[in-house]
């Protein structure tokens, strides 16, 4: 059933968007497609509004930093509540220019998700109504989930490397 649904969805998407759907994969049965930032909103809109796809619910927006590829991938998770089908949509952006159009035009719920992704990864969502930090303090001058920044706080004094075999 999952295989058939995923197959139908892939056909539907490649029929509509052709070359713009760059790669299709199904890790653990979850259909994962990659597209580009110029069509991402049309892809999401199609997935939301098409009667066969009907992904009415935006589960999450997040990002992944790949320093070796000098890329930031923005990841959208959608859910079709009626058919109980999930899909994952990825867009790869260049590290130096992480701009992408906002999805708030489709789902109001995207507002805080995009603010979180901006806060942690520095992805700029163009057209977002209120793009400012949501979790971290305003004075933080980095986007801490980017891998060039250390996870640990430099002010910690009791964690000496010798105790941890480093």
């Amino acid at each position: 059933m999952t295989e058939e649904t995923n197959h139908n969805l892939t056909n539907l998407l490649s029929e509509r968007f052709g070359e713009k759907i760059k790669s299709v994969d199904e890790p653990y049965g979850l259909l994962t497609i990659e597209t580009t930032k110029d069509v991402i909103i049309s892809v999401l809109q199609f997935l939301k509004e098409d009667s066969q796809a009907a992904f009415n619910f935006l589960t999450d927006i997040t990002a992944v930093h790949y320093p070796e590829k000098r890329a930031i991938a923005v990841v959208y998770h959608l859910y079709n509540m009626v058919g109980r089908v999930r899909i994952r949509v990825k867009v790869f952006l260049h590290e130096q220019q992480p701009d992408i159009p906002t999805a708030t035009s489709l789902w109001n719920g995207a507002n805080w998700m995009e603010r979180e992704t901006y806060d942690l990864f520095g992805v700029k969502f163009e057209g977002h109504p209120d793009l400012r930090r949501i979790l971290n303090m305003d004075e933080l001058n980095v986007h801490p989930m980017l891998k060039q920044y250390p996870l640990e706080d430099p002010n910690r004094v009791d964690k000496k490397d010798e105790y941890f075999g480093r």
Binding site: L135, N136, M137, L140, P144, Y149, P150, L151, E152, D153, N155, R156, V157, D158, K159
Partner: protein, 180 residues
């Protein structure tokens, strides 16, 4: 009948119809048994504090039945739980609103040192922003440990000189935290 304990009078000179001692001792004695704590509870250590306030451990026995939820009326700031960096200006403001003399107790690993949250978003111990008198270790500490820490605070309060808060050392210490 329960055995009601009353604290002993401080050392002094006693005679027929008079008792003489120093203000420091009398004020210290009175203060130490009537501290009004402000519970600044942000996570699981706060749950342990609820147990400490409950009838089994009965924090009120030590003169702290009355919690103060306004910093302006509190003597003791009890910080219990993880303090995120975003929370730190709030905590500092609460401390600034307290009137002297004021004491601070860091309850649990997070308030004392950041605990397991060694990360960019968490304050690595509240002593980065405000001075702390007593640290209670534990993750979370048991109510007995919180009571023990409170006992240490009472000891400090009882033995504090009436002029400590005017001393240049104290002012210098506050200045090192950017508090004037």
């Amino acid at each position: 009948m329960s055995d009601i304990k009353i604290v002993d009078a401080p050392a002094g000179i006693e005679g027929s119809g008079f008792f003489a001692t120093s203000f420091d001792k009398v004020i210290g004695l009175a203060r130490s048994h009537s501290l009004w704590p402000l519970p600044f509870a942000t996570s699981c250590c706060g749950i342990e504090f609820m147990a400490t306030m409950g009838s089994h451990y009965d924090f009120g026995r030590f003169g702290s039945e009355r919690l103060s939820f306004s910093p302006r009326q509190a003597d003791l700031l009890m910080v219990m739980g993880t303090i995120a960096k975003k929370m730190s200006p709030v905590l500092k403001q609460v401390y600034l609103q307290m009137a002297e003399p004021r004491w601070v107790m860091a309850v649990g690993a997070c308030a004392s040192s950041g605990g397991i949250f060694d990360t960019y978003s968490v304050l690595q111990g509240i002593d980065e922003i405000i001075p702390v008198d007593v640290y209670v270790p534990g993750c979370p500490p048991r109510p007995e440990a919180i009571l023990d820490g409170f006992g240490k605070i009472q000891e400090l309060v009882r033995n504090e000189s009436g002029r400590r808060r005017d001393s240049p050392e104290y002012k210098e210490m506050l200045a090192s935290y950017g508090i004037l």
